[in-house]
């Protein structure tokens, strides 16, 4: 019990910015579904089961188009393909987390991944439970925001334009933290420049998969050099 409490207390502060972002985005998503004529049960259940923000917005569009489950499946694969990279990055970190591992993988959204892959909790805190609570809290924020949005839908009028920037700011901060903590900046530079290049070349709707491919190719090309430099760093 104490282990869990300590992990919860260590995890909570990291999730506060996400609470702000998810409550807002969740509200927006719930309100959107409401405006398309869906009961609050839809955003409520979809926020629990899909738990991948951008894909849930896309799914609303699928639900008002002709029935085509294979297309829905393929689209979900494409939109969420970046999760494959998260998984490869977390193979080691999730290794000894016992049964929690299945939930950690299930709930690995962008925000939970970015905290769990970069934050080193204090030594007395259990890492598995820390990552578990980061994931669970984020899942709860998204669920609460979406459900409330679906319920309150037509009553809410926002003057909070721009609050979605909280996600951008979060990723910028995590990017900088990783930059400060590592001597080897090539992977970070490859990530930004390959993505920017593909965004310009393929446009905002189609750039993720080519960007992932280009990142993979470049990192594999630089493998020998990077491994040598990282070995020097470790020793």
């Amino acid at each position: 019990m104490q282990t869990k409490m300590r992990a919860f207390r260590a995890a909570f502060p990291y999730t506060v910015p996400i609470c702000a972002g998810f409550t807002f985005l969740g509200l927006a998503y719930g309100i959107y579904m409401n405006s398309m004529g869906f009961s609050f049960l839809y955003p409520m259940l979809m926020s629990i089961t899909i738990f991948a923000g951008s894909m849930e917005f896309v799914t609303v569009g699928l639900l008002v188009s002709p029935f085509h489950p294979l297309h829905a499946f393929a689209l979900a694969l494409m939109v969420n393909a970046r999760h494959l990279f998260y998984g490869i990055s977390m193979l080691d970190k999730y290794r000894d987390t016992g049964k929690k591992k299945w939930y950690l993988i299930f709930g690995m959204c962008d925000e939970s991944f970015s905290i769990n892959c970069s934050v080193q909790p204090p030594a007395q805190v259990d890492k598995g439970w820390f990552m578990f609570f980061v994931t669970l809290l984020n899942h709860c924020y998204w669920f609460i925001g979406s459900t409330l949005g679906g319920l309150l839908g037509s009553f809410i009028h926002f003057s909070t334009e721009g609050i979605e920037f909280v996600m951008t700011a979060l990723f910028v901060v995590i990017f900088l933290d990783q930059w400060f903590s590592q001597k080897e900046h090539l992977p970070a530079v490859v990530g930004v420049s390959a993505s920017a290049l593909c965004l310009i070349a393929f446009g905002s709707g189609n750039f993720i998969v080519p960007a992932m491919a280009l990142i993979l190719i470049l990192l594999l090309l630089f493998k020998k050099r990077l491994e040598q430099r990282m070995e020097v760093e470790e020793s």
């Binding site: 089961t49 899909i50 894909m55 970046r82 998984g87 690995m108 721009g162 920037f165 901060v173 993505s195």
Partner: protein
């Protein structure tokens, strides 16, 4: 769409999403040694992917028309400067976001 079709569509989306999350863990189980090249990617990918996420957040910014992505540029600059200076995650995020909201609501109309 009937209720059954709606449920099937949502189920297909859940399945697709879960394939992307679980596949690496099914391909490289914990009890077997992970191939060296995958281990290497596990080390270098996190930094690269966070870079991808930053770009992903900015994907719909129109840089060729007013306000030319200036609110985003200033917002990111402020977030980074605050973080460089104080290294306090919450302060950097709150500061950058509030500034951005002021910019899009009051300055760049």
């Amino acid at each position: 769409m009937s209720l059954g079709q709606t449920i099937l569509t949502v189920a297909a989306v859940v399945l697709g999403t879960m394939v992307t999350r679980f596949l690496p863990f099914l391909l490289f189980p914990a009890d077997k040694p992970t191939p060296k090249v995958i281990k290497y990617l596990g080390k270098v990918l996190p930094c690269a992917v966070i870079g991808l996420l930053v770009v992903y957040c900015l994907k719909d910014v129109a840089v060729l028309s007013w306000p030319y992505g200036l609110p985003e540029l200033i917002g990111i600059g402020a977030t980074a400067a605050l973080h460089w200076w104080k290294r306090n995650m919450l302060l950097s995020i709150a500061g950058g976001t509030v500034l951005y909201m002021v910019l899009v609501q009051l300055v760049f109309l």
